[in-house]
Symmetry: C2
Subunit: 194 residues, 2 copies
DNA sequence: GTGGTGGGTGGCACCGAGTGCCGCTTAGCG
DNA sequence: CGCTAAGCGGCACTCGGTGCCACCCACCAC
């Protein structure tokens, strides 16, 4: 997701110490005051960088959305499934050095229910983007059931992919791509196919 | 979802006045104190019936899960898609009188992001149940990507169905069934199929 | 240099959700 | 009639999140 290139250094620092504290103390057991002072800022300032304690874990999703939209745009003529597949493969290209942090984030999202919940809110825009793109390619209405189901099913599948990837501690970046491909095969051919 | 047959009358009353107040004042603008005293109980008691202000809107989902599991169990031999389709059709059989309340709930869930988020947490068990059931029928591991993607994609599609149904004010119970069928056709045959 | 001016900062006070504790009522029962 | 147990609800507390405002400091005009 072409992460966090240029971003306020304060935000970067806060994200870092937050992941650290969450990993050692747990999410619920860490207060925003601790996060703030560990990051060397006041509590009030923390909330200027992150609307929510939850968002300090989910920081990069927005940039991911932008990247997704771009990636979709660079797939003219393709059918929706192919376009979405290519876009997700492009957007989820991680360098080896990024994988540990990704794992920590996914682990948190997986077992702090509130985080999973917040993530789905953030993913709404992804669903809309995918539905809109698919609707254009299929030449149907963006509100049509087909487009809406597509958008939601794709995002849900991608979350299953991340979950599966996270469950395999030895899986690398290539494995992630493989899972993405598998998931899109299922979506393309349907669950009744063998 | 064979709703709320035997349930503490206090809870029923609270749900009712809550939907009322949310509809008139808005969700965020209604405090738990108001809900409690409108329901004739103390604030502390409110939280004994509902773990969260959010849950007063989502009350029946758990009963829905139980019904889903039962419905799945009564589909021996069917393939996962057919079983899930039949289960959802069985579970979402609404009497005409229930539709207005359903609409109000869906409307709230749709445009209060926090509610949508909470709903997804509650739906996790549905996803697991579907994944487990499908894994058994396919004779694969419950943690396998195929089963996991299936569980999540089905739930996501059903949420798209409810959203689409809610968007059409004149749609009745039969229309809901039709949308469920459409969605399952897509899942069964895949999005690349004509 | 002096005197704005504007953005980032963070303290302070406040609100509302959620929780632990505890004393009260009341229904059921020996 | 007393005992007990369960539901109720008040009270006080924690913590996330917000509005307000005073402060610091860089930048700029004169």
């Amino acid at each position: 997701m072409t992460r966090s290139a240029r971003r306020a250094p304060v935000a970067r620092r806060l994200e870092h110490v937050a992941l650290e504290l969450f990993a050692t103390q747990g999410f619920d057991e860490t207060t925003v005051d601790e996060l703030a002072s560990a990051g060397g800022v006041g509590r009030r300032t923390f909330f200027r960088y992150f609307p929510t304690k939850l968002d300090v874990v989910l920081g990069e999703l927005d940039e991911g959305l932008a990247a997704l939209v771009v990636a979709l745009a660079t797939q003219p003529g393709a059918d929706p499934v192919a376009a979405a597949r290519a876009a997700f493969l492009a957007v989820n290209r991680y360098a080896d050095g990024e994988l540990p942090a990704l794992r920590r984030r996914l682990g948190l999202i997986e077992d702090v229910p509130e985080l999973a919940a917040r993530a789905t809110v953030r993913y709404r825009d992804w669903e809309s983007a995918l539905a809109g793109d698919a609707a254009r390619r299929w030449d149907v209405d963006a509100g049509s059931l087909r487009a809406q189901v597509f958008g939601r099913a794709v995002v849900a599948s991608m979350r299953a992919v991340f979950s599966a990837w996270h469950a395999r501690p030895e899986a690398d970046a290539a494995a992630l791509g493989g899972l993405v491909d598998e998931a899109f095969d299922l979506l393309a051919r349907g669950f009744s196919a063998r």
